[in-house]
């Protein structure tokens, strides 16, 4: 596109990518590369032997509460306030590869990116922490694969999700003292009252929390997403504490430690990978 000054600029559309010609003319080699790439990007769930046994021949896990944490603050919150009580077993993880995955240095980093925990004394309560990036074409797949393993009757789903206050649109300018704060979105089947205000239009959520909500909405599962808008990049104890409100409803199913020790908090609120001192 030419501008008034005579420069030629490339034009981008926020709606569509450059039109790709029909891929029918792909040759065999291209097709094979495409297939291999698709296979590599597949989400694979790895369960503990006990759970795999329970899931044999199409059976599903009995599950009354499934709590999903997406993002570092949400995941660290669960680690510090819930999972530190040692009442939980790690029962599986999901391996997800996409172009943003860093080269896996050892099994450890791959396994910790998406982990499932189950309560020892009440195995129908399941927690999952997702700290890795899930690409747009993997979010639906992850959701379908995980929910395929859970029985849907009387299942309650709660998603804790990190968000940036920069993405939150409001007519009155939000001064920084109001962040972090929670907003909720729930499916039609969710009959309880959310612990915070609903997410106002024109705000939306995207990513894995949205994929989970979509699945629960069409399959009539009670689900609620608590999106936490924070002005801090990275794990932060104030942001983590904001999620406490969300878990109060779950009471006995989740034994919440209302004030974990500073040591525990410090472990999770460390600044990860200081690559640059320019921004704190």
């Amino acid at each position: 596109m030419a501008t008034f000054f005579g420069e030629v600029l490339s034009v981008y559309s926020r709606a569509v990518e450059e039109e790709e010609e029909d891929v029918d003319e792909e040759n065999e080699e291209d097709e094979e590369i495409r297939r291999e790439l698709e296979q590599k990007r597949e989400v694979v769930l790895h369960w503990s032997p006990e759970v795999s046994e329970a899931l044999r021949s199409g059976n599903k896990l009995q599950c009354s509460d499934f709590i999903l944490a997406v993002g570092h603050n949400a995941a660290s919150f669960l680690s510090a306030y819930v999972l530190s009580s040692a009442n939980w077993d790690a029962v599986g993880h999901a391996s997800v590869w996409n172009e943003r995955s860093r080269a896996v240095t050892g099994q450890h980093s791959e396994e910790s990116a998406c982990v499932f925990h189950r309560r020892k004394d009440n195995p129908s309560v399941l927690i999952c922490q997702v700290t890795c990036y899930l690409a747009e074409d993997q979010q639906f797949q992850w959701t379908e694969k995980v929910f395929e393993c859970l029985q849907h009757r009387e299942l309650n789903v709660m998603v804790l999700s990190d968000g940036s206050v920069a993405d939150y649109k409001t007519a009155d300018y939000l001064c920084s003292s109001s962040a972090p704060f929670l907003r909720s979105l729930h499916t039609g089947a969710f009959s309880d009252r959310p612990v915070c205000q609903p997410l106002e239009q024109p705000n939306i959520i995207t990513g894995l929390p949205a994929a989970v909500l979509n699945h629960c909405q069409v399959h009539r599962v009670a689900a609620v997403v608590y999106q936490c808008y924070s002005d801090v990049i990275g794990p932060d104890s104030v942001t983590m504490e904001t999620y406490k409100l969300a878990l109060t409803r779950l009471g006995r199913s989740i034994q919440l430690d209302p004030s974990p020790s500073t040591d525990i908090l410090r472990k999770f609120a460390r600044t990860t990978d200081i690559q640059s001192n320019l921004y704190i």
Binding site: V11, G188, P202
Partner: protein, 262 residues
């Protein structure tokens, strides 16, 4: 696939389906928003597919506090039974590698539902127009042979301009390529149209040449154009602007301005 949000499967037999293509300026989608909002259409189901990028939000057409907390998904179907009108709204981009799959999904759903005709609202990059397209109206239409049989007279009366075929290599005279249909920035529009011709489906495309920016006026242009044909609104209403803007159109260009800036 289509999943009903009510307790029974809705019937679309004989209905007209209006749907947007995710295209430059999101004009088709904005136009569909106006239709759903103005006609107060009710949601009857979702198109649940892995072909669209996931998103979720509360009711974009909320009129009061009570219905504001209803969850909405990337692709939903609304109906206005008294007008025999169904509308599919698509709120998210199509996953890049799944464009063909999505087209096929849509066309098989359209066939199975028994719609009497489908109208696709779309747009195309204004900067890619050739010399003849630069003049006159920016609106174009396309219609499959199957629909032309039924609507030829109506379209002729409206005096609409059909989308031109353009040469593949403008300016090159010795290239022996036929002029072909080219809808840059139209997303799956061309694919939907050509597939519908092949499968003998009654489908029309209404598109507008536009650029990215504030596309609200473009949406009004397109929806008024559609209304000239389908007569969705009561024409005797005195107000010039008869379309109702939904609350989801607030803050299209970001939050309010911090007062400390000045």
């Amino acid at each position: 696939m289509f999943i009903s949000s009510q307790n029974s499967e809705p019937s679309f037999k004989g209905f007209t389906l209006v749907m947007p293509a995710v295209a430059v300026g999101n004009v088709g989608q904005l136009a569909v928003d106006l239709i759903v909002s103005t006609l107060n259409m009710s949601r009857v189901g979702h198109i649940h597919t892995d072909c669209l990028i996931p998103m979720a939000g509360n009711n974009p057409y909320a009129t009061c506090k009570e219905d504001a907390e209803e969850l909405h998904t990337p692709a939903e179907v609304y109906t206005a039974a008294e007008l025999k009108l169904a509308v599919l709204q698509i709120r998210a981009p199509i996953v890049q590698t799944k464009s063909k799959k999505f087209r096929q999904l849509l066309l098989s759903w359209i066939k199975a539902s028994g719609f009497s005709r489908t109208v696709v609202l779309s747009s195309s990059h204004a900067y890619q127009r050739d010399d003849q397209q630069l003049q006159g109206t920016p609106l174009r239409y396309l219609v499959t042979p199957s629909l032309l049989k039924v609507s030829a007279h109506a379209l002729k009366e409206l005096g609409w301009r059909e989308m031109e075929r353009v040469s593949a290599f403008p300016g090159l005279t010795d290239a022996n390529t036929e002029p072909r249909l080219y809808i840059p920035g139209g997303g799956i529009t061309k694919g939907l149209y050509t597939d519908s011709c092949t499968e003998d489906l009654p489908l029309a495309v209404l598109l507008l040449f536009c650029s990215e920016g504030d596309n609200i006026p473009d949406a009004f242009t397109l929806v008024n154009h559609l209304n000239d044909w389908l007569q969705l609104l009561d024409n005797h209403s005195p107000e010039p602007n008869k379309w109702k803007i939904p609350p989801s159109w607030n803050l299209l260009f970001g939050s309010g301005i911090p007062p400390a800036l000045f």
